[in-house]
Symmetry: C2
Subunit: 339 residues, 2 copies
């Protein structure tokens, strides 16, 4: 049995018990096909297999590569590419081979691309308030007609209230989620179909309107979602080694440097956190931090770093290690990276 | 011949002429062994071969994987791992096979690790002002003695004035660089050896004290260094495709969404730039931007995105494409990623 101490740092480590608790909690709230876990948050088919074991038959993807990898892993029973694609030939090839792939459309161009590439099923992506992809609600019906005219089956609608996921005021988050979902339901009334897909970890306890929940971050978690009070455990850390320490000087307090930097951490939500220390800044391969009083660190110590944003952190690593009580139970390739 | 339009987006594209101009300009300023290009900025051995062709016999690395990859690519003649390492066995194996690998040390622990793992040559890493790794100047001589006592050859000192690289006031950047280098030279007087290694793209025109310059970003460049006025051309862009557009509405101006997001861009320096548009925000796989008046974009258009920080951007991609006049001349694997 390998131990944490045997791992080359920096390394993604996943607390096996925290992960299982998170998967069980979300599956209890959104059982069976009502949960369509988003694989963009972990990019790891071995973890997706665990989500399937907790009852989810279908998954959400953000990239063509994620769809291809899920099919290759035997998880191609009902995949939603919740993203607009103009060259759908790779998706069409998967469909021709028997995978079920539904793709988001929000324009005549994406409808034409889906039909041309051999995709057979679509969701109309509706702008519910986040200025990103998605047709305006009052244009959704016409786009669905276009899709059907092009020979595509329209399964329903999707709309992502991404701008609300980490809104600090929970009551406000709930009120605005209802507003966003009213737009999505209005579009759905024009579009038809069985599916109303949306949501994320931050609204998964508030969104009572979707027929399927697209949450992803709940499985591994990060400090941003922890601050948003979503109630899932921090299962992912980046294991690092202290490579340098500096004693206090008249002009500077004591600090330490660990070997996890901005090439091992998604930085768009800011610096990572270190329990027992204050993070000063990240460089390419280093984090400089001040240990709390009474928590001195020495060269060679291991430090568990909490990323601020899980999705882009995972995308920087080739593998993640499943651990319990310091033992490495399994090593999973992060096999859905790239495009 | 492949064209830009054939590339799956997002994709790193490198302007072949801009790259060659950048390499030639830096090699003219720092000829031969006075330039030790830092491969952490591009992680691509094919690009390192171009730097070697411009006269640089040695290279700087930030990770063990970078050192291993450079040796495998036949560029192991004089590699500096400008970083502290506690498990040096992989480096020692390279040395035993004939590569020349010098590693930074800043503590008794890293000296012992170098000797134990089979590394034979070190530089004493000196803290010149950036609170990261490095021994204080007044401790450098004693550490060099320890290294020599452990059987290591001490080639000299290194010290990185990383906190000055993008200082907006050039006169202040020059003044503080001199201060930092005074600390490095004081340490060098105690340590001895032929090498005084340091610097980066932002101080490469100001630092007249080092015997070898560790610049890396100059080859590909980014918007942060461009803003710092370093005088190199933007050779790297992330090619993306517009996948969605939204017309102006009473409550929102027109915007577009391209398929390059924070999983394809280093975000620690903030948002990327888009010539002809204003970037609003990045999501995992998208950038939302407002096209400038008179520069409308349509679904399917290609957009060249300028990353804010080149190093972590490159680390997210599997390959980069060398292009001239829209033609893809070559595709280089980004083969030095990971640890």
């Amino acid at each position: 049995m390998r131990h944490l101490a045997d791992l080359q740092t920096p390394a993604l480590v996943v607390d096996a018990d925290a992960l299982e608790a998170n998967l069980a909690d979300m599956a209890a709230r959104w059982p069976g096909a009502t949960l369509r876990p988003h694989v963009k948050a972990h990019k790891t088919t071995a973890l997706a297999h665990r989500q399937a074991a907790h009852g989810s038959p279908g998954f959400t993807c953000a990239t063509i590569r994620e769809v291809e990898g899920m099919v290759a892993a035997g998880l191609g029973g009902d995949l939603l590419l919740a993203n607009e694609v103009l060259d759908t030939r790779r998706l069409g090839a998967l469909v021709a081979d028997g995978a079920r792939v539904t793709v988001a459309v929000d324009s005549p161009e994406t409808v034409e691309a889906a039909a041309a590439g051999g995709v057979r099923e679509v969701l109309v992506d509706v702008n519910v308030g986040l200025p990103r992809c998605g047709v305006q609600p009052d244009g959704a019906g016409a786009l669905a007609d276009k899709a059907r005219a092009a020979g595509l089956a329209v399964r329903g609608v999707m709309g992502y209230e991404g701008h609300l996921q980490a809104l600090p005021d929970l009551a406000e988050r709930a009120r605005l989620t209802e507003e966003c979902m009213a737009r999505l339901l209005a579009a759905h009334a024009e579009v038809g179909g069985d599916v109303v897909s949306g949501g994320g970890t931050g609204t998964s306890a508030l969104n009572t309107w979707v027929t399927e929940m697209q949450a992803g971050s709940y499985a591994l978690m990060d400090s941003a979602y922890a601050a948003a009070g979503v109630g899932y455990r921090q299962a992912l850390h980046v294991l690092s080694t202290v490579v340098s320490t500096s004693a206090a000087r008249p002009d500077m307090p004591a600090y330490a440097v660990a070997d996890v930097g901005l090439k091992a951490l998604g930085m768009d939500h800011g610096n990572p956190s270190i329990p027992g220390g204050q993070v000063w800044f990240c460089s390419d391969e280093h984090v400089t931090f001040a240990p709390d009083d009474g928590a001195p660190v020495r060269v060679g110590d291991h430090v568990l770093v909490v990323p601020a944003h899980v999705d882009p952190t995972v995308a920087l690593h080739e593998r993640m290690h499943l651990v319990r009580d310091g033992e490495v139970l399994d090593t999973w390739p992060v096999d859905l990276r790239g495009w």
